[in-house]
C-alpha cells in the first residue's frame, strides 16, 4: 500500500513534480501514465527513497522512505528505467548478488533462481554473461533481481521499453501473477496498450501534476469517450509523447 500526498520536487529552476497525490493498493496494478518528461521517473525515485522530496508525504506500508529507508528497501522491488545490469556477470550472478545484499541464505537464493528460470523462462541464458543480452532478456534479469527477496511492493519504471511482442506478453503475464498474489504494483509507462491491458487504476501525470485519476471505466465515463486514448488526449489536451 502506497500513499503519496502533495509531493514536490525541483531540480534547480525546473519543477519536475508539483503537488502529486495518489494511492496504490495491494493486489492492484496502478499505472502512472504520462508523456515523456511528465515527472513519472522522478516520482518513482522518491518512492524508492533514492531522491528526497522537497515537500509532501510518502508512505509505503506505513513507512517513510527517508526516515525508514533501510526498512522500506527490504520490502520494495524496483526495476529502474536503466536496468543497470552488470555485463561481466552472468544473469545468475546478477540475481544472486542482490539476494546476498538482502542477506538471503544460499539455499533460498537457489530456490528463487529455479523459480525465475521456470516462470520467466530464463533457463537458456541464466549462466551467460549479460553482455549482449536482448532487451527482453535484460528486463527479465532486472525483474528477477528486483523480486529475489519477494518484496510486497513492486515499482517498475517503463518496464516494456524496447521489448518485442513475445517478451511483452511474458512480462504482462508475470505482472498479473504478482497482482494475483496480492502485491502492490506501480508501473510508469507512456504506452496506452500497457495501461489498458494491466492497470486497475490509472494516474495520469502531465507537467508534474495529476491530470486525472481513477479506474479505466471511470476515466471513460468522465470524458464520455469510447477509448482510453481519446480519454487521455481529452484529459491532458494533447497526445504528444504518447505511444498507442
Amino acid at each position: 500500500m502506497i500513499k503519496v500526498s502533495n509531493l514536490y520536487k525541483s531540480f534547480g529552476k525546473v519543477q519536475a513534480v508539483r503537488g502529486i497525490s495518489f494511492a496504490a493498493r495491494d493486489g492492484e496494478v496502478t499505472g502512472l501514465l504520462g508523456p515523456n518528461g511528465a515527472g513519472k521517473t522522478t516520482t518513482l525515485r522518491m518512492l524508492y527513497s533514492l531522491l528526497p522530496p522537497h515537500a509532501g508525504e510518502i508512505e509505503v506500508d506505513g513507512l517513510n522512505p527517508i526516515r525508514d529507508a533501510l526498512a522500506i528497501k527490504r520490502n520494495l522491488g524496483v526495476v529502474p528505467d536503466n536496468r543497470g545490469l552488470y555485463n561481466r556477470l552472468t544473469a545468475r550472478e546478477n540475481i544472486r548478488y542482490f539476494g546476498e545484499l538482502h542477506g538471503m541464505s544460499h539455499d533460498s537464493i537457489r530456490e528463487r533462481l529455479e523459480d525465475f528460470a521456470r516462470r520467466l523462462n530464463m533457463a537458456d541464458f541464466m549462466d551467460r554473461r549479460c553482455e549482449g543480452f536482448s532487451q527482453g532478456q535484460r528486463v527479465k534479469v532486472a525483474i528477477a533481481r528486483a523480486m529475489v527477496h519477494q518484496p510486497r511492493t513492486v515499482l517498475l519504471d517503463e518496464p516494456s521499453n524496447g521489448l518485442d511482442v513475445m517478451s511483452t506478453r511474458e512480462l504482462r503475464k508475470y505482472i498479473l501473477t504478482l497482482k494475483g498474489a496480492g502485491h502492490c504494483i506501480v508501473l510508469s509507462t507512456h504506452i496506452m496498450q500497457e495501461v489498458a491491458a494491466l492497470c486497475d487504476r490509472i494516474v495520469i501525470i502531465a507537467g508534474g501534476v495529476i491530470a486525472a485519476e481513477g479506474t479505466p471505466p471511470a476515466l471513460l465515463a468522465r470524458t464520455g469517450r469510447a477509448s482510453l486514448e481519446d480519454a487521455f488526449v481529452d484529459l491532458i489536451g494533447t497526445d504528444e509523447g504518447l505511444l498507442a
Binding site: 520536487k9 531540480f11 525515485r45 520494495l76 529502474p80 543497470g84 552488470y86 561481466r88 548478488y97
Partner: protein
C-alpha cells in the same frame, strides 16, 4: 559486515573478468617496471663506461703556441684533431664535446713565469659531455702540476711546500650502500605501483557503475551505503596490494641480472627484505584506495574520473622527487608522514640497515589514519543522492 564481503567478492570477480584491466593493473607493472629499471641501469652504466674508456678526440686551436703541451697531451693518449674555424659555434652545435684553444700570448706568459691561459671550450649544461670535459681538464691539470713541481725543484724548493694539504678520501660507503644510488628509483616505482594497481578497479566500480547506471539498483538494496563503499574500497586495496607484491617478486627475480658488479656495487635484496618492504608499503595501498574511491565518487563519468587519475599518480612522485634533490635524514618525527616515511624506510631496508620498530609503527599508523580519514569522507559522499543522479535529468 556481510554486505562488505558480498560487494568485495563481486568487485573482484567482475574486475578479474575484465581481461584488459586485469592485465593493466596486475601484470603490466610487474613486467614493465623491472624491465625498465634493468634497462635504464644497464644503459646508464654502459654509457658511462664507454665515455670513460673511449679515446679522447679533441680539436686543438692554436697548437703551434704550445707545442710541448700538445705533445704531452698526445703522449697521454689524446688524439688531436686539426684546428677549427669557429670552435664556439662547433660546440654550440654539439659537433664537438670540448675544444682546447691556446691563445697567442701563451708562450710569452709561459716564458715570464706567469700562469699561461688555456681555454677549454665546452657546454657543461649538456650533461653527457661531463665525462669528456673532466678528462680534458684532468690532463691539463696534470701537465700544469708536473711543470709546477719541476719549476720549484729547479729553484731548489721542495714541491711539497706548494701542497700544504693532502686530501685523503676515506670512503665508508659499502658496495651495498653504493647500490642505494642505483636504487633511488625503487621507492618511487613501488609507491606508484601501490597507487596504480587499484586505479582501474576504483574508477570502474564507482564512476563506471554510475555511468552504466547500475549504482541506482545497487543502492536499492538494504545494505548501508558505507558498507557498499567499504567493499569497493577493499577490493581496490586488494588489487593495489597484489600488484605491489607481484612487482616486488619480479624485482627479486630480475635484480641478479643487473650488470653492476663492474662498478663495485652490490645489489642484493634478500627475500626477507622483500617481505619487510611489502609490509612497509601495505598501508599505502589502503590510503591509495581511499583516495581513488573518493575521487572516483566525485566524478560524473568514467572519463572525468580518468582525468583526475592523471593527477593522482603524481602524488607518490612528490616525496621521491623531494628526496632526490633534497635528501633527508630518517627520524622518528618524519615517520608519521605518509608516503615520505615509506620512501625513507625502503631506502634504509635496501641499504641493509636495521629499522627501529617505532619507525615501522609510526609509518603504518600515520598512513592508515590518513587513509581512514579519506575513507570517511568518501563514505559521506556515497550518502548523497547526487552520487547517483549527478549529471542526469530527473
Amino acid at each position: 559486515m556481510n554486505g562488505i564481503l558480498v560487494v568485495f567478492r563481486k568487485e573482484i570477480i567482475e574486475s578479474l573478468r575484465d581481461r584488459k584491466a586485469t592485465f593493466n593493473s596486475l601484470l603490466l607493472g610487474p613486467l614493465l617496471f623491472p624491465l625498465l629499471f634493468l634497462g635504464l641501469a644497464w644503459f646508464g652504466i654502459s654509457m658511462q663506461q664507454e665515455r670513460a674508456e673511449k679515446p679522447l678526440r679533441i680539436p686543438v686551436v692554436g697548437a703551434e703556441h704550445a707545442p710541448n703541451l700538445v705533445a704531452w697531451l698526445e703522449e697521454q693518449g689524446m688524439e688531436r684533431l686539426p684546428a677549427v674555424e669557429n670552435p664556439e659555434e662547433m660546440v654550440r652545435r654539439n659537433d664537438a664535446e670540448a675544444i682546447i684553444r691556446i691563445p697567442a700570448g701563451f708562450g710569452e706568459d709561459w716564458q715570464a713565469g706567469r700562469p699561461a691561459p688555456i681555454e677549454i671550450i665546452a657546454d657543461p649544461s649538456r650533461r653527457e659531455t661531463s665525462v669528456t670535459i673532466n678528462r680534458v681538464k684532468g690532463l691539463v691539470q696534470g701537465y700544469s702540476g708536473q711543470i709546477g713541481s719541476l719549476r720549484l725543484q729547479l729553484r731548489g724548493v721542495s714541491p711539497e711546500l706548494a701542497r700544504p694539504i693532502r686530501m685523503v678520501d676515506v670512503d665508508l660507503s659499502t658496495p651495498k650502500s653504493r647500490g642505494m644510488m642505483v636504487m633511488i628509483f625503487l621507492p618511487y616505482i613501488l609507491m606508484l605501483t601501490a597507487f596504480v594497481g587499484g586505479l582501474h578497479l576504483a574508477m570502474d566500480s564507482t564512476a563506471g557503475e554510475k555511468e552504466r547506471r547500475s549504482l541506482e539498483p545497487l543502492f536499492l538494496n538494504p545494505a548501508p551505503r558505507w558498507r557498499i563503499m567499504c567493499g569497493k574500497m577493499l577490493a581496490t586495496t586488494c588489487f593495489g596490494f597484489a600488484s605491489l607484491a607481484l612487482t616486488l617478486i619480479s624485482f627479486r627475480l630480475t635484480l641478479p641480472f643487473l650488470p653492476i658488479d663492474q662498478l663495485g656495487i652490490e645489489l642484493r635484496i634478500s627475500t626477507q627484505s622483500i617481505f619487510t618492504i611489502l609490509l612497509v608499503i601495505a598501508p599505502v595501498t589502503l590510503l591509495a584506495a581511499a583516495l581513488l574511491t573518493l575521487l572516483a565518487s566525485f566524478a560524473r563519468s568514467y572519463k572525468e574520473a580518468q582525468s583526475y587519475m592523471g593527477l593522482v599518480i603524481l602524488i607518490p612522485v612528490i616525496p621521491s622527487m623531494l628526496f632526490m634533490t633534497n635528501p633527508v635524514k630518517p627520524e622518528t618525527d618524519i615517520m608519521w608522514i605518509p608516503l615520505f616515511s615509506q620512501n625513507l624506510l625502503i631506502g634504509e631496508i635496501v641499504r641493509g640497515e636495521a629499522v627501529p620498530a617505532v619507525w615501522l609503527l609510526a609509518s603504518a599508523g600515520g598512513t592508515l589514519a590518513l587513509g581512514l580519514a579519506l575513507a570517511f569522507i568518501a563514505a559521506n559522499l556515497y550518502n548523497r543522492a547526487g552520487l547517483i543522479y549527478s549529471g542526469m535529468s530527473g
